[in-house]
């Protein structure tokens, strides 16, 4: 995959501020094929279930703490998808949590690539995308 490959993005965050910021940052990388944002994790799951695997990789930026369904609940359900679907996705937690137990729990899900701290810069996100092959 070349360095300027495009990705589909899904942002799951309960804060509309952080969703807006994430959108801006993604746009700054210029690597977006599409951006979908969800302030409720359940809606994101339904979207993934309905649209399935895309031609390009889909990067999910997932918040930890959200009301009703949090990031961990989301991962619990996401891991139930068939491997064929999951292989089209790369999940990153993007959170303000400094809690070590949150971080270890987050990275214990097989589909999670890593745990990123807010705020993330466009340059940092770009580097991460470059490593996704």
């Amino acid at each position: 995959m070349q360095d300027n490959a495009l990705f589909n993005f899904i942002v799951v965050d309960d804060s509309p501020f952080d969703i807006r910021i994430a959108e801006k940052i993604i746009e700054r990388t210029g690597r977006q094929q599409s951006i979908r944002t969800f302030d409720e994790a359940q809606m994101a799951l339904e979207h993934i279930g309905a649209t399935g695997r895309q031609e390009q990789l889909t990067v999910i930026l997932l918040d930890v703490r959200m009301p009703v369904m949090d990031g961990f609940d989301f991962m619990q359900d996401f891991e139930q998808f068939p491997d064929a679907l999951k292989s089209g996705f790369r999940v990153f937690f993007l959170s303000s949590s400094m809690n070590q137990s949150d971080i270890s729990r987050a990275t214990s899900y097989p589909s999670v690539v890593s745990f990123l701290n807010k705020p993330i810069s466009p340059a940092k996100l770009g580097e991460i995308l470059d490593r996704l092959v």
Binding site: I21, D39, K118
Partner: protein
């Protein structure tokens, strides 16, 4: 009622049991057992046994062995060993292995036993209290942990939003984009301020002493009208207030304010986005010995599955608006302080009704 001290006595000689029972049954509830398994059955059935006395020399098991087992299964009752022989080894074993509270020499005198039982019971009460306190402390500690974890998150996330917004604003010359980021930062700070406000309420309720006085409802209502009528106009929500207070109400103004402002601001906040005729209604009335406050709206309502949790700290039932997860917790806490109660009935997309009852003796 305090009740009599419950004593269990284990001895393989029926006569000893009978004379023990005869001597102490008036002052204590006496249970007796000829064999260890019988003693365990009593312990299983009577969880309030505080003193266990056992003979040392028994055919199945020695008193020390019995106590060793007892200590594992029922650690709380105080253990006393009774033996007729000056059996030093047994006494040492009883202390080291059976952790006995006292050693009683046979033939026992009534005064000795009585004294030993009273002392043992006192010891039992003191240790139980200590255990209870420890348990409560442990619980408080766990809650504090959870609390500080959540507070850190709530304080930090708006700050990180602002930092993200600043990053973007700094790297653009587009004024519209900068303005958007500024407005975003402003809102995030508002959220932080709101959270800190709620924290302040929390400590006011937790630490504050009650300041009971006659509540000036006219003043209270005119204050609320000032605050919410404007908010209502911008959002097109009708604010109806009905003051049906017929007698003086004695309560704490600050605590009452916390309750009212949380319920009313929630009612304004969780309005339906599609409904045209939107309202928030406040009714305050008195009934004999009670002051009743009703706050109702025709907003988005609360999912039935969440109704039991809405008063929990940091619980949020919806994502439709910003909430600190603190508001209703504070309301419930405040009501605990006033010996009041709150009930809620709600239907999704139809609205909610919160009914607060405060005793007014």
């Amino acid at each position: 009622m305090e009740g009599k001290i419950k004593v269990l006595y284990l001895d393989d000689e029926q006569n000893n049991l009978l004379s023990f029972k005869a001597a102490f049954r008036r002052d204590y509830t006496v249970l007796t057992a000829l064999r260890p398994d019988e003693a365990f059955r009593h312990l299983e059935e009577h969880r309030d046994i505080t003193v266990v006395i056992s003979d040392q020399r028994m055919p199945e098991k020695s008193g020390v062995e019995f106590f060793e087992e007892l200590r594992v299964q029922y650690p709380m009752p105080v253990r006393m060993l009774c033996t007729g022989y000056t059996d030093v080894e047994a006494v040492i074993a009883a202390i080291n292995r059976g952790h006995v509270f006292r050693y009683i020499q046979k033939p026992w005198s009534e005064t000795d036993i009585r004294f030993a039982i009273e002392e043992g019971h006192k010891y039992f009460v003191a240790t139980s209290l200590l255990e209870e306190t420890n348990r409560e402390l442990l619980k408080a500690n766990t809650e504090l942990d959870k609390f500080s974890h959540s507070v850190t998150h709530e304080l930090r996330s708006p700050i990180l939003s602002v930092m993200g917004a600043i990053n973007i604003a700094q790297s653009t010359d587009n004024v519209a984009e900068i303005k958007e980021m500024l407005s975003l930062a402003g809102k995030a700070m508002q959220r932080l301020d709101n959270f800190i406000y709620n924290m302040h309420d929390y400590y006011t309720i937790q630490r504050g002493k009650l300041n009971t006085a006659v509540i000036d409802f006219d003043k209270l209502i005119s204050d609320l009208t000032d605050i919410y009528t404007i908010a209502g106009k911008t959002n097109n929500v009708r604010f109806e207030i009905s003051n049906e207070v017929m007698e003086e109400v004695n309560s704490d103004q600050t605590v009452l304010n916390i309750i009212l402002s949380n319920l009313i601001s929630n009612a304004f906040k969780y309005q339906s986005k599609t409904r045209v005729d939107r309202f928030v209604k406040l009714v305050i009335r008195t009934e004999e010995g009670k002051c009743i406050i009703e706050v109702s709206d025709n907003g988005i309502g609360i999912n039935e599955a969440h109704l039991d949790n809405i008063f929990d700290m940091f619980f949020r039932a919806t994502n439709e608006e910003f909430g600190s997860g603190f508001g209703l917790y504070n309301v419930k806490d405040a009501l605990k302080k006033l010996n009041g109660e709150i009930k809620v009935s709600s239907a999704r997309n139809e609205g909610s009704l919160f009914t607060v009852t405060i005793p007014n003796p």
